[in-house]
Point group: C2
Chain length 194, copies 2
Amino acid sequence: MAERPKVLSRRLAAESRLFRIEQLELEFANGARRTYERLLGGPDSVMVVALQDPQTVLLIREYAAGTERYELGLPKGVVEPGEDPLAAAHRELQEEVGFGARELQIIHRVSLVPGYIQHHTLVVLARDLYPNRAEGDEPEPIEVVPWRLDALDELLVQPDFGEARTIAGLFLAYRFLARERAAGQTPSPSPDEV
Amino acid sequence: MAERPKVLSRRLAAESRLFRIEQLELEFANGARRTYERLLGGPDSVMVVALQDPQTVLLIREYAAGTERYELGLPKGVVEPGEDPLAAAHRELQEEVGFGARELQIIHRVSLVPGYIQHHTLVVLARDLYPNRAEGDEPEPIEVVPWRLDALDELLVQPDFGEARTIAGLFLAYRFLARERAAGQTPSPSPDEV
């Protein structure tokens, strides 16, 4: 692997209420210089794969301002300052889906677009759910859509489904569950192979 | 599905050389108002799943300014103004991986983060490759890393691998190939089930 490029300069190029853009002047090991820009990220966010039963994941349909339409995907949210990531996942699950979980675990950490976004998201698997709604800052009630894990091909062709991060999260959970089952750690029925 | 919120106002909140951030004032069907920000996107980008043989995908390891480290992932790039997306995928494949492809097809279109990013990426499957390097604007030679499709679990634990978009792209290609094989459209050997 090559030596990391040297940072010749670094400055805040633009800033809004939510976003900060940094401009970087880099010199690569071979002497080539390039100017890059990246979106600075805060702490990791969380994305929750909540299993209502071993075969069923709880998706949500909510308004997405980026694409200006309602999108089907996994619940997610930011980790508040000082908040434990699992506590943040639990809070988002209660606010957006209306369930608490007795079992929460981080199964992966993904970047969004490493080329120009600093931010990362923790994928959290939630199991042993119980109904428990908490009040969040959602502008309107969120529709919860249970989806069977053995019907991912049908999900992929839904017109309002297509977030790369959600697709990755479902795939990672699926692989995690398959490995867990292969290791014989769970006595409960598990989803079929993807 | 709920009625889309009304856009009360829309303005450019910040701008840099590469990025534009829009601020939106929205009123939801129930009367709730919220201020959102989103990263405006240009035309779709392309991400290429190039199969050297039916079992092997060609990954690249290149410097990612967003996370400030070398990252293992799928080759990708922007579609130039007026350029056909498949031509863009072919160009990026030749520039970043050093291969041309006789067969290119779009298998999916993913959003990155629909909540606050407008941009989408086309996932392009490339097959029937031949060595052909084109000069791009890369600052340094890019390392090409062939990876077997039946070794995705090993890939997921590589410390420099973790882009949600790449994970989604590999998963989508895997499912596409499995469906194609199930339909008996390809006589060549195909990867095992994920």
